[in-house]
């Protein structure tokens, strides 16, 4: 009861005063740890005058719970917590957390702490959470008081607060709130924020460990979350799956391809979990890829099925193995992860290849595994263990890297022995001399344990490779004269094993070893020598009895193991040379009879009965010689890692070589692959968003200043897939009325798509624009990796929103600029096999931006726009435009948004209102405009809080297309359909530099967003595109003729656009 951490004199004095109180030591029930004295309870109430009402309820509840209490330790902390100064409370909480971190008990402060759970101060709140999670289990009743706060926080507009409320709520291990937790998890699983959904995946595991009976309900949630397309969620939900229902492999089928495709973009920890789950999955779903070169497997199988199933076996043999495309997908998508910086990821890919890849492909992981050896000591340890297991089966994999396993004197002991193990595994006829030379250095090491290990390794090499057995044996014999006893002893043991394998001509060595017996003290070595002499006593007839004589002398002082071998030796000599050794044997047997160790007494009694003939044991003693001197098989020296491959590589079970709890067996390959079609995913029709989701979306917006950012982040990863208009509908300024708006707009949408009419285009400004563009040097090629294609192709097919693995793409395709697509290009590239492509990325993106609003006319607001030439995210028939807004004024501009537009029917996907723009700040937003395949300018108003500016965006005709890739054949087919009226052509004289293909392609691509069609002819260049709005095909052919003449032909239904483009192209190609 003495103040333990009194920091101030006052505190100590206060506690001393409290000690005098009469209620001292009055402990109440252990559950209700009293926390509040009558007086401090009062101050607590006072302090709460300024606090919210809900905090009041807690306090009043607390005080009513227990008023009579005892003063305890940490009173100063309690007082600080009840003070109404935030800073004091914070200080107190910090000290309390410090106590928890040190493992000291701070549970008696529970009532005082829990009051602050609803605090406004974020840091204070977090610290209270930390405390709650730690002690809630001990103080369940009091912990319940905080629950309502969390329930309220679960509805908070800020996703961070929702997530942390769920985290804490689910971490409170109080069984009574299980239903509340369940409800919260279910709700969070359909939250708009992927971060909250991730938290709910974690909460599933917590609830499951608290109450396994909830399994069925939790599986439902897991099933739902598995469908989630956010990379953020994937790792966590697979983790939950592994923990709760790893046996429900059927839940994976539909998500398999998506997981494979998302894998590269999942955070590294999630990757590890997903890869290991997919390894297990693949082993149940695909057939073995090892048949063809796995001759050994084949044979054993044959022997087994020989009799009854010969016919079926023949069938399988005839049928060549073809790998399931899904199996291949997994292998292909995991391969790049070998380059990860995270060692756990690299290891998990390595094990995946080991367990799933065809034999000839496994070796691609070698290099990466060897690379990990440069990492931390602990990493080396685990990796070396796995290499040791692998190298037993597949020497060839690591042989080229043999030198990487050379031991350094500074390595830790367990690292050394693992390296030794691997070197031994790798030894073969070709490299054995190098390895032995290396081993010679190790034998001399100062680390004697390691030297002993090396000797064993030499022994193993000697038995495995018969060519070097003699060399090794001689080397080991030389070591017998080593000054160090451990080395000698180990050599003796190993020599014994080697001699046993081929004892024929080695009596010299045995004699040499017999001499050693005088000096050597290590019992194992002495025992080994005695056994050797006993076993081969007929080869050393003169020495053996003498050795026995010496041993008889020292028998009593020997170790047990040596005594046993002495008895053995005596018995064997008695049988072979009883004349010389009869008395000695008798003597030893007598000594043994009265030994303290019962094993020795037992053995002595047995031997006596066996070898000394008497009337009782007549029958057995006849066979004594055959029993004792039977030829014995040589011991097999093998690796300790021999059987480790029964565990999945990279697992904890593999490391400790026993089954760890929760280890999931890797099943054998199925003989016949289960139905492949279970993994097919049907394309889900876009679902109209439920109004409640819409409103939920609006809630997010106010708390994040660049609100457009968050919105576009959430929407795409919605579990219910949003059709294009889903995002569009949220853009209005008036949050309240948006529900109606969204429905009205989507109906508009459908109308429009049915009545797509061509509009005449105004060609007024085009000439000027073109000139501007052409000034741009063509070599300033925007660096666009070609592999974005995947993504775009999906974008422009309205129904392929649900393309496998697509969730992440949409996340990328972002909020502010389409340039961001570049961020993770490899993300898209791997989906090649999945979605059938038709639209390719732009070959060229003009960097030139056009003025939308000059800063003078815009009263400080300057705007520029640029055509990104990407398919528009929001709606496939819109053209995406990127606008950068800069505030050049000296005051902050608020609420920048788009106002009225003209013509009235103009469809614009507006960017979300920008709440404010600081002076000199700029922001880039993207919007979509449906130009309806005309170059008519889109006029609209750009509004700030105070002003409105009319602006207009004028597209060049080339920007209204989307590039398409097609083959030459398709091109011709399409061209055949578009003859006559749909064709226009012109002959021009091209400048010299445009006659070669590259500059020509560049020029055309700069002019219009079209894709190059691979052409069989050198002089004919073909390009294909389609119009953004109606999707009409546009084909451009440039045929170069003699003397720099060229014919440009354009085929398209949209003849007006065709002729405009023709004019532009003519200009462009004729230009120097």
């Amino acid at each position: 009861m003495v103040q333990r951490r009194g920091t101030t004199v006052e505190a100590i004095v206060a506690s001393l005063q409290l000690l005098k109180l009469p209620c001292l030591g009055n402990k109440s029930s252990p559950r209700m740890e009293p926390g509040i004295t009558a007086s401090s309870g009062g101050t607590g109430l006072d302090s709460d005058r300024c606090v919210e009402p809900r905090q009041m309820e807690i306090v009043s509840l607390l005080t009513s719970v227990d008023m009579s209490s005892s003063p305890t330790r940490n009173d100063d902390l309690k007082e600080m917590l009840e003070n109404n100064k935030e800073s004091l409370k914070l200080e107190a909480m910090k000290r309390i957390v410090g106590l928890i971190a040190k493992g000291k008990n701070a549970s008696e402060l529970f009532p005082a702490v829990v009051k602050n759970v609803a605090s406004k101060n974020i840091e204070l709140k977090k610290l209270v959470y930390v405390y709650l999670v730690r002690y809630a289990e001990e103080q369940q009743d009091l912990a319940l008081l905080s629950i309502s706060t969390f329930q309220r926080a679960l509805k908070d507009p800020n996703q961070l607060i929702r997530a942390s409320a769920l985290r804490v709520l689910s971490s409170i291990r109080v069984p009574i709130i299980i239903p509340i937790m369940m409800l919260a998890i279910k709700e969070a699983a359909s939250d708009m924020s992927p971060y909250v959904r991730k938290t709910s995946a974690h909460a599933i595991q917590k609830l499951y460990s608290l109450d396994p009976d909830q399994k069925e309900h939790l599986i439902e949630v897991i099933e739902k979350l598995l469908k989630d397309k956010s990379t953020l969620v994937a790792g966590s939900v697979v983790m939950a799956f592994e923990e709760v229902c790893p046996e429900r492999i059927d839940l994976i089928h539909k998500n398999y391809r998506k997981l494979c495709n998302l894998l590269v973009d999942v955070e590294e920890w999630g990757q590890v979990v997903i890869i290991s789950m997919l390894t297990r999955y693949a082993r149940t779903q695909f057939t073995s890829p090892w048949r063809e070169d796995g001759v050994f497997d084949e044979n054993s199988e044959r022997a087994f099925y020989e009799s009854d199933e010969e016919k079926t076996r023949d069938d399988t043999e005839i049928k060549p193995y073809t790998m399931d495309p899904d199996h291949r997908l997994l292998l292909r998508n995991t391969k790049p992860l070998l380059q990860s910086r995270n060692t756990a990821v690299v290891m998990s890919v390595a094990q995946l290849y080991w367990h799933l890849a065809p034999r000839n492909e496994v070796s691609i992981v070698t290099k990466s595994l060897v690379r990990l050896l440069r990492s931390h000591r602990e990493v080396q340890y685990i990796v070396l263990q796995n290499i040791a297991t692998m190298s037993i089966q597949r020497k060839g994999m690591f042989e080229p890297y043999m030198k990487s396993f050379y031991v350094r004197s500074t390595d830790a002991t367990h690292i050394k022995s693992l390296k030794l193990e691997i070197l031994t595994n790798l030894a073969n006829e070709a490299n054995i001399s190098t390895i032995l030379r290396e081993f010679q250095t190790y034998v001399k090491s100062q680390d004697k344990q390691f030297a002993a290990g090396t000797i064993q390794a030499i022994g193993r090499c000697a038995t495995n490779i018969s060519e070097v057995t003699d060399t090794c044996l001689n080397g080991l014999v030389l070591l017998l004269s080593n000054r160090d006893e451990t080395v000698v002893a180990e050599s003796v043991v190993v020599i014994k094993k080697l001699l046993q394998a081929q004892p024929s001509q080695h009596s010299d060595i045995i004699k040499h070893m017999a001499k050693l017996l005088d000096n050597i003290t290590v019992s194992m070595a002495r025992a080994s020598i005695l056994w050797l002499i006993g076993e081969y006593c007929e080869r050393v007839p003169k020495i053996a009895p003498d050795v026995l004589r010496k041993m008889a002398k020292s028998f009593t002082s020997e170790e047990d193991i040596v005594k046993l071998q002495t008895v053995n030796l005596a018995a064997k000599l008695y049988l072979t040379n009883s004349k010389q050794t009869k008395l000695l044997t008798q003597y030893i047997l007598n000594l043994g009879k009265y030994d303290q160790n019962y094993d020795i007494r037992d053995r002595t009694r047995f031997i006596r009965q066996l070898i000394v003939p008497n009337e009782k044991s007549g029958a057995l003693s006849k066979y004594a010689r055959r029993i004792l001197l039977a030829p014995k098989p040589a011991p097999v020296l093998e690796s300790a890692y021999k059987d480790r491959d029964r565990y999945q590589l990279g697992t904890l079970s593999h490391t400790i070589n026993t089954k760890a709890s929760g280890y999931l067996e890797l099943s054998d390959w199925p003989a016949v692959a289960p139905d492949q079609s279970v993994r097919n995913v049907e394309v889900i029709e876009p679902v109209r968003i439920h109004p409640s989701i819409c409103t939920a979306l609006f809630h997010f917006c106010p708390d994040s200043p660049p609100s457009f950012f968050h919105i576009s982040c959430y929407c795409p990863s919605l579990p219910v897939l949003l059709p294009g208009e889903g995002v569009g509908s949220i853009t209005g300024e008036d949050w309240e009325s948006d529900e109606d708006k969204s429905s009205s707009q989507s109906s508009e949408e459908s109308e429009k798509s049915s009545s797509q009419s061509e509009k005449s285009s105004s060609e007024s400004d085009i000439e000027q624009k073109k000139k501007k563009k052409m000034k741009k040097p063509p070599q300033k090629k925007n660096v666009k990796p070609p592999n974005k294609d995947r993504y775009q192709s999906v974008m422009c097919k309205p129904n392929s929103w649900v393309g496998p693995g697509f969730g992440a793409c949409v996340c990328v395709c972002d909020f502010s600029s389409c340039r961001m697509n570049l961020l993770r290009p490899h993300l898209f590239s791997r989906r090649l096999s999945v979605v059938i492509s038709c639209v390719s990325g732009p070959a060229f993106v003009p960097e030139k931006s056009h003025n939308l609003l000059h800063r003078m006319t815009g009263k400080g607001l300057a705007a520029q726009y640029q055509f990104t030439r990407q398919p528009c995210l929001y709606q496939p028939n819109m053209v995406s435009v990127q606008i950068s807004l800069t505030n050049t004024s000296d005051h902050r501009l608020e609420q920048i948004h788009i106002g009225e537009r003209s013509p009235a029917g103009l469809k614009i996907h507006c960017f979300n209102t920008i709440e404010f723009l600081e002076p000199d700040a700029s922001v880039t937003v993207s919007m979509g405009i449906d130009f309806n395949d005309s170059t008519q300018a889109a006029n609209f108003q750009l509004c700030t809080k105070e002003d409105q500016f009319s602006v207009s965006i004028q597209p060049a005709v080339g920007d209204l297309f989307l590039a398409v890739t097609m083959t030459e054949q398709d091109f011709r087919k399409e061209q055949g359909k578009l003859q006559g009226m749909n064709e226009c052509s012109a002959t021009i004289t091209v400048t010299a530099e445009n006659t070669s293909s590259q500059p020509l392609n560049r020029r055309v691509a700069a002019m219009a967003n079209v894709g190059v069609v691979p052409s069989g002819q050198d002089n004919v260049h073909r390009f294909a595109g389609k119009t953004a709005c109606s999707g009409a095909v546009l084909l451009v052919t440039v045929e170069l003729r003699e003397s720099s003449a060229a014919v440009i032909t354009i085929n398209t239904e949209k003849s007006v656009m065709g002729s405009m483009l023709l004019r532009d192209l003519k200009k462009s190609l004729a230009q120097a």
Partner: protein, 418 residues
Amino acid sequence: MIHSLFLVNPSGDIFLEKHWKSVVSRSVCDYFLEAREKALDPEDVPPVISTPHHYLISIYRDKLFFLSVIQTEVPPLFVIEFLHRVAEMIQDYFGECSETVIKDNVVMVYELLEEMLDNGFPLATESNVLKEMIRPPTILRSVVNTLTGSSNVGDKLPTGQLSTIPWRRAGVKYTNNEAYFDVVEEIDAILDRTGTTVFAEIQGVVEACVKLSGMPDLTLSFMNPRLLDDVSFHPCVRYKRWESERVLSFIPPDGNFTLMTYHVNAQNLVAIPVYVKHSINFFESGSGGRLDLTVGPKQTMGKTVEGVLVTVHMPKTVLSVSLNATQGSYTYDNATKVLVWDIGKLNPQKLPNLRGSLSLQTGAPKPEENPSLNIDLKIQQLAISGLKVNRLDMFGEKYKPFKGVKYITKAGKFQVRM
């Protein structure tokens, strides 16, 4: 997954504990401490220990043990990698990872650990995400905090957490935009007593310090990328671009980070920058011995070798040494039997030499084996593999950054057997 974490100092005291699931009694550490007692060196403690109810996975780093308690099957590397990240995070936040620093900032460390794992599964391990949630301490901020009562805890979800580029936060702004790259190569080698190379390879790493505003998109290309045999990248690097064009294209994290590590093609002969002439003799009588060491430059590509440091692990029986160094100074630690000779810069005209006598334990037998030498060195402005950065281009931002590349070669695990 990870159940609890204990931090243990070299003397075996547990000075911090954190539980992500239910509380595990710290008595579980006894199994570990027992293993620690048994091991001669802290490095020798097995990283994975199995106890009746738990599994203990530990790392030893900066003289501290990070000990995690596991209850069910989990890839051990997962835990090890995570523990190292924790150590790196502490280093990153507080400048060093030591017992005192952790004790001084215990609340912040605790908060960090809370954010890094949820229910034992990593939640946020990216430095810049964490730094937005819990701001690292600076003197200015601590003054402000005490005055205003504001805190180091952010209340917004870090932007990085949600985007596909979690390693970079939005709205980075610098007045001076700079990007520096250090190409650091380490030579790992084992030389035998005659000076022949038993094994040598070059491991390199490109460390970057990028302070650029906005969302720059960088492309770094090499003159001779074919040299690079095996590479691993920071997650920001676009693997596809590397595959097809052998250039590093990335949107960098803000601040310091390791862009890539690489291994130089093994076929290329590795230039060994120094040679060592050595002789060590022990007298038959066993009472003493002589040591003579000379270090000289070998293949240095015309650059000066600096920071040369020779470490010799002497046999156990060597009691003391009496040596004379023509350059630099030497120390001999009798407890660990380590002789360290700090030479400094190598002067090709006047080779540094260390010679003198060793005195051995009387009566002890003559040491069977010779010690091995570990050499540390540094060569500025040279990548020993010949790797050269060609150019760095920036896209996506308008300003002109200041760019710089530095090369340095070091000895990695460079060992000479005597």
